[in-house]
Symmetry: C4
Subunit: 275 residues, 4 copies
Amino acid sequence: MDPFADRPRRGSLRSRLHRIIFGVGTPAGKAFDEALLVAILLSVTCVVLESVPEINAEYGMPLRIAEWCFTILFTIEYVLRLWTVAHARSYALSFLGIVDLLAILPTYLSAFFSGTQSLAVVRGIRLLRVFRVLKLARFVQEGSQLASALYASRQKITVFVSGVVCIAVVFGTVMYLIEGDESGFTSIPTSIYWAIVTLTTVGYGDVAPSTALGRMLSGVLMILGYSMIVVPTGIVSAEMARADPPPQRGRVCGACGAARHARDAKFCRVCGEVL
Amino acid sequence: MDPFADRPRRGSLRSRLHRIIFGVGTPAGKAFDEALLVAILLSVTCVVLESVPEINAEYGMPLRIAEWCFTILFTIEYVLRLWTVAHARSYALSFLGIVDLLAILPTYLSAFFSGTQSLAVVRGIRLLRVFRVLKLARFVQEGSQLASALYASRQKITVFVSGVVCIAVVFGTVMYLIEGDESGFTSIPTSIYWAIVTLTTVGYGDVAPSTALGRMLSGVLMILGYSMIVVPTGIVSAEMARADPPPQRGRVCGACGAARHARDAKFCRVCGEVL
Amino acid sequence: MDPFADRPRRGSLRSRLHRIIFGVGTPAGKAFDEALLVAILLSVTCVVLESVPEINAEYGMPLRIAEWCFTILFTIEYVLRLWTVAHARSYALSFLGIVDLLAILPTYLSAFFSGTQSLAVVRGIRLLRVFRVLKLARFVQEGSQLASALYASRQKITVFVSGVVCIAVVFGTVMYLIEGDESGFTSIPTSIYWAIVTLTTVGYGDVAPSTALGRMLSGVLMILGYSMIVVPTGIVSAEMARADPPPQRGRVCGACGAARHARDAKFCRVCGEVL
Amino acid sequence: MDPFADRPRRGSLRSRLHRIIFGVGTPAGKAFDEALLVAILLSVTCVVLESVPEINAEYGMPLRIAEWCFTILFTIEYVLRLWTVAHARSYALSFLGIVDLLAILPTYLSAFFSGTQSLAVVRGIRLLRVFRVLKLARFVQEGSQLASALYASRQKITVFVSGVVCIAVVFGTVMYLIEGDESGFTSIPTSIYWAIVTLTTVGYGDVAPSTALGRMLSGVLMILGYSMIVVPTGIVSAEMARADPPPQRGRVCGACGAARHARDAKFCRVCGEVL
């Protein structure tokens, strides 16, 4: 259900702003979305660059200024959304509402705490700003049949992921018994970490088997991980194929109701009626 | 076939327990399952944590106590299952029955052997407890069409895996000839290990080609491994697509309730009624 | 639309050359294409080999000579194309036209600049020649239903890639907070780089987590990356399955020749004839 | 076409042997196949183990003896095949015939050359024996619809692989310009090797970017490689889906010819006739 169901009185400033901020039909709405998109990307880039010592040393001040500009912009955006939306409360509690709030809070908090608190906390808070990327979620149209396919096969995917974890636990434990500490298998958690690294075909190589038996076993694990990916693929492919039926099957004969007529069909293939 | 076919006399304590332990319909049954799930996960976590030297040094005693609690719990569960199930023997010999037994045996054995046997054996036995994760298999409903798809294409998958191994053997041997010991290709088994690591796109990097020819050949192997995954994917996708017909074809006959009629069906395919 | 729509007067030398250069029907045309293919591959090989110090030291002169031969060949090809094509301008501005120009320019430029400019620039310009591989694009027939499937699902793929990047940004930042500099997470860009390396299951291992929490989190990221690939797979599979209808449904109408009639078709869907 | 079309006079020893060696219907034929399978696997294992210095030092003699036993066995098999088969020549020149010959030749050759030739040659010849694994090809039934699907999409796969190589060449060259020697990008071939390692998500880490720009670019390459795998997957999935039409579509109504009746169909869904 859409929390912005009943719109404010049209014609008023509030309704015009609503159309611009929430709507995409109008040119103004499009422009607003694009501006927002750019602002999000730029602000995240700033946060990221700020963490590079050299850049921070040289461009620290401009970055901090830009930071404040973005925060003020997003604050204005947040306030306008709160004002123009039909149900401010349900927006504020919606996923996007919380994300919009999280996008502006850290800067204020860091300014507030800077003196009083430990550096680690401030650093942590400041880096929360990177979650602004989640504001991009707004640009992904809901209910895409991709999401529906994933949702439809969520149970199977849960089973699959649990299976992956179980295999990692079992193989990790066995490898912990086989391999010694010198190979890096210092504890079962480490071995499970290695098993996941191997099963997902990431393969860092920071932990790697050295004994013959261990290598044989990890060979099995690798082939397992390599082949196992087909399982969710098969699931989701089937879901997708089910989610969108080929369009050329879409037309129905008015006379006999025979469906799945090809795009270029002029006549019903069952009763011969003109479509 | 279901080994618990004929139920014990209903109303009796035994039958009530049976409904709770094996059934999921009743609230009590659900609660039991959830409690079991939590117990399994916690007990495995204990086994895993116990292997971390620091944690074992500090929390060794509580972990050992928790261990015994879980063992006693699982023992009670096992006994109750044996008692309440219709055919105790067929349960005891079923996969889940053996897993349930394996979940409790190691602790008792380790307590028994601790003094007499070598540490390695005891350690090995104790770590068998991690196989408790297999108790989770109970929560995966049988006969999922995923399993059936895998089962239907088991032969093709066998051929595929054998193919992977053969390619690994051939490439491993050739690379053993091309590359010297300094690159880590010290023997054919090691080279085969490298080939599997490469073919499955894991790529640890502990063994890596250094000669021009060797790198060219491993490039071929990589592209092969990268592309080859499509083969089982295609197989299983096709199986899956076959396994579940799209629901939008799911018209149901009013007379006999037969479902999955084609769009252009005029008559029920089972009872011949007009749809 | 095809820029070479209206052909030059047939019979003339120009039209004959046009048929040879652009056409593939005639034996001469086939021969020309094959010669071109070989020339492209050889010339790129030269560029690649030239960069190997040992080879350049020994075979520098022959390579440079071969280089000039290929350049002259491609120049002749380019001039002939310009001359024989119907609309020289639209060809020159087409993708292939620009590629053909880029294939010959660098050699002339490098000869021109060699003395005057810095070595780096010349080196850069010379290496531009490797883009000759793009000339191969000519041999990929346009409008393959593979390309159309990709094109049809471009939006979903964009969303997917953005999703990958966003996940990498978020995980990278969090790991930057968790892991210290000693693990290699020296800045957020580096951490994002690590996150992409992990999410795409490449796993160099040059940056790898060392703390327990970091490894747990990267385990999540790995499983995410490992499973997430099914999403685009599902998308494109569905697109492909839609793109080409099974041939075994390919009944042809005797009257109008319309093909791809459904199995249960009684009448041609185009002309209404009884099949 | 099957080279063993016209069989030798039945009843004769030759024909009985032929049934045993080439046939699988009779118990003797099955037994022979199984024995052959075991012999192949064992002999390859011997070759592999012989390359391990420790094992060769200790069990060199028994391995060499086993080697000769296997060679004699395979020689007998080869001779019998030559004798019993209808067209000895066409078998000898067939893929399997050549493989069978290659399986026995190396041992004899190595025995012959051992004294006269250099060790490397002998070693190479001896290792040819590992190609015995190709004898397993006999057990893969021909014309599987998997092979046909691959064959049907061979062109697309060629285009795909060429695409992968072209991307590797272009990215490799660019990275060679960006990254210096200290990162391991010492020449374009090495850089192309790195690009393939990265694009196929193998990721050894022996060559890895160190500059910011290089890491950004390789991030692009990784995401490209990670997503690009969907292309062949889509192709082959579509091919597979096309290769095997769901069985429940297979039955045809005798009265009206309506096809694609479900397995449990008793009546035609179009005309209501009893199937």
